[in-house]
Amino acid sequence: MRVVIAEDLFLLRDGLTRMLQAHGLEISAAVDNGADLLAAVTADRPDVAIVDVRLPPTFTDEGIRAALAARREVPGLPVLVLSQYVEQLYARELMASGSGGIGYLLKDRVFDSAQFVDAIRRVAAGGTAMDPEVIARLLARNTGDGSLATLSRREREVLALMAEGRSNAAIAQRMVITERAVAKHTASIFLKLDLQPSDDDNRRVLAVLAYLGG
């Protein structure tokens, strides 16, 4: 799998490159600004682009804008955006840029390299990787909601993992339960929240995020 990295801090760019190479990913380009990212994705056509939010010259949300521009340039390009902090506003904008192939994670998630690489693979395959903190804040915001309150604790956990973009298998592994138990939980969640059930992980994420107002 070929990856383009856009990260302006040398230490992090270098660390990411080495970590991903150690996990058998191929780094086709590692750049330090948005313009070079655009050039790299159009030239190399990578499987996924990993983009830091803060990039020169403005050091504000350059990375988000670069990611959105890259997806306009190369439709369907999977992009994983990394940031020191997460904002629901940015999560929304990224989700709105076309269905699937979107990730938005805190930089801390890099510490768990296995999980992180799993998220990259998920995004590259057209899935979603939404940071748990975004989901936690969405859930916290909706606590007063009537139908959400009817969910059991287990179901809420499944809902959160589902909203992050994880498959049933991944949820089962994470919660140390069987896949069939997960399927039972998801069916119950969709029933209680009055959502259209779907086997497609990606459509499922969109439905859940839309329900939570994300």
Partner: protein, 465 residues
């Protein structure tokens, strides 16, 4: 608080403020009832009658004032009379001299009391000029020098009173008003009475009757202008002079500057403490954990691995703490996107339903954006904590060099800017930018908070690609 301000006005440092334009009705208000021409005429007549009534009340005020001045002068005259009598070589009377001295001393002692008496009268005139004549007049008085702690002794009080130019201008106004000023406001009522008498009196002739009707119509028509003229006359003596304005301004700047510095210093202390107790402590612990892992890595690799994971988790916690700290100092999204989007992000995190309307085209300077953002953030926290509101409307607009932020909720109201330390804090922070905060929160709600900050907006940054 500055001296001499009505309780219903925000602290503007004694400056005349243009009345805030009516807020965009949000939540919507009742539409006005359609009116018939007859009702219109009645409204007009009623309005003029009210003006005439106001004029009579103003006359009363003026006469009370001049009576006071007369009393002061009268007592002085009595002193002179007694003194003249006492010094008359033909009929010297010790008693008269003693009386004269006693009355004079009494008069001297009472003078400050009289002067103090003029102040409420002048204040009342200022209020009425704004309300009845449409000429709002700001208070010109010097702030009490002992307002910042300690009580003023009699001497300090006297010095404060007598050295304030405004005291003497008040006296001038009361005199002028009592002698000639009252003529203006009394015209409407006089014309009304004389006109009506001239029309209905049985002995009135045709010409007189015509004149009376003309005077009645003309006087009634002109009455608002007469009141306005009176207001301007009052303003010429009661409004702050340029010198008073500058003095007040200097005082206000000194006050807000020291408050801004205090707030800044307190913030820095808080950040230092947070770093010391949070991220720094975690980094120290991490260093020790890593060291321990290094020591046992050969003898007990499993335990070493556990320690390494522990160190990793500590670093995640340290990062989370730093992230929260940064949010409290200057939220990244505020730096990235400006006020509107930062408030939008706040709204997304809030359990309330928040409707945001914004017409901001550019960006204010970073300190102003930050002050406005934290003000809104604190208001929203207040709303969700105290008001039990389901919905909140936030209104961001920029007109004529003024950033206006309205925060309205449908909670149960009863917020008190005097008692609520949160609102006071916001007010103080906005004051550093000459910003003001106005709160309307009747019991039962809704609560509407309006903030105004004079500032300039720069053009938005050029966007990527």
């Amino acid at each position: 608080m500055m001296a001499g301000q009505g309780p219903d006005r925000p602290d503007t440092g004694g400056y005349p403020q243009a009345p805030a334009p009516p807020r965009q009705a949000q939540p919507p208000q009742q539409p006005q009832q359609p009116s018939s021409p007859l009702a219109d005429i009645w409204e007009w007549v009623r309005g003029r009658l009210v003006v005439a009534g106001h004029g009579v009340l103003l006359l009363g005020l003026a006469l009370t004032g001049i009576a006071l001045v007369g009393a002061v002068l009268g007592v002085l005259g009595l002193v002179a009379l007694l003194a003249a009598k006492a010094t008359n070589p033909y009929q010297t009377q010790e008693l008269d001299l003693i009386t004269a001295v006693a009355v004079f001393v009494f008069w001297l002692l009472m003078l400050p009391v009289f002067l103090l008496f003029f102040r409420p009268m002048a204040r009342l005139t200022r209020r009425l000029a704004g309300r009845w004549c449409g000429v709002p007049i700001a208070a010109p008085y010097l702030p009490r020098p002992w307002a910042d702690g300690g009580r003023g002794g009699l001497r300090r009080r006297l010095t404060w009173l007598l050295t304030d130019q405004a005291t003497w201008r008040d006296l001038l106004w009361v005199t002028v008003n009592g002698l000639v000023g009252w003529i203006l406001p009394v015209v409407p009522a006089t014309v009304l009475v004389l006109g009506v008498v001239g029309v209905v009196a049985p002995y009135a002739q045709g010409d007189i009757r015509l004149l009376a009707v003309a005077a009645l119509l003309g006087g009634t028509w002109a009455s608002p202008w007469l009141m306005r003229g009176y207001g301007l006359l009052a303003s010429s003596m009661l409004a702050p002079t340029q010198h008073a304005e500058l003095t007040l301004r200097v005082h206000q700047l000194t006050e807000t500057r020291s408050e801004a510095l205090d707030t800044g210093a307190a913030e820095i202390r808080r950040i230092e403490r947070d770093l010391h107790d949070g991220a720094q402590a975690r980094l120290v612990a991490m260093g020790m954990t890593l060291d321990a892992a290094g020591q046992i890595i050969d003898t007990n690799p499993d335990a070493a691995r556990a320690l390494l994971y522990e160190a990793r988790d500590a670093s995640i916690k340290a990062l989370a703490e730093l992230r929260n700290l940064v949010r409290g100092i200057h939220p990244p999204i505020l730096a990235d996107r400006g006020l509107a989007d930062a408030i939008r992000a706040l709204a997304l995190d809030s359990p309330m339903r928040i409707h945001l309307a914004s017409d901001l085209r550019g960006r204010a300077t970073a300190p102003i954006e930050s002050a406005a953002y934290f003000a809104v953030s604190e208001l929203l926290a207040n709303v969700s904590k105290h008001a039990e509101a389901r919905e909140t409307w936030i209104d961001l607009r920029y007109t004529d060099g003024m950033l206006r932020i309205g925060v309205t909720d449908n909670g149960h109201g009863g917020a008190d800017p005097v008692r609520g330390s949160g609102l006071r804090g916001i007010e103080r922070r906005l004051a550093a930018f000459d910003g003001i905060l106005a709160v309307s929160s009747p019991p039962g709600g809704p609560t509407a908070v309006t903030m105004e900050i004079p500032c300039e907006l720069s053009l938005p940054k050029t966007s990527f690609s």
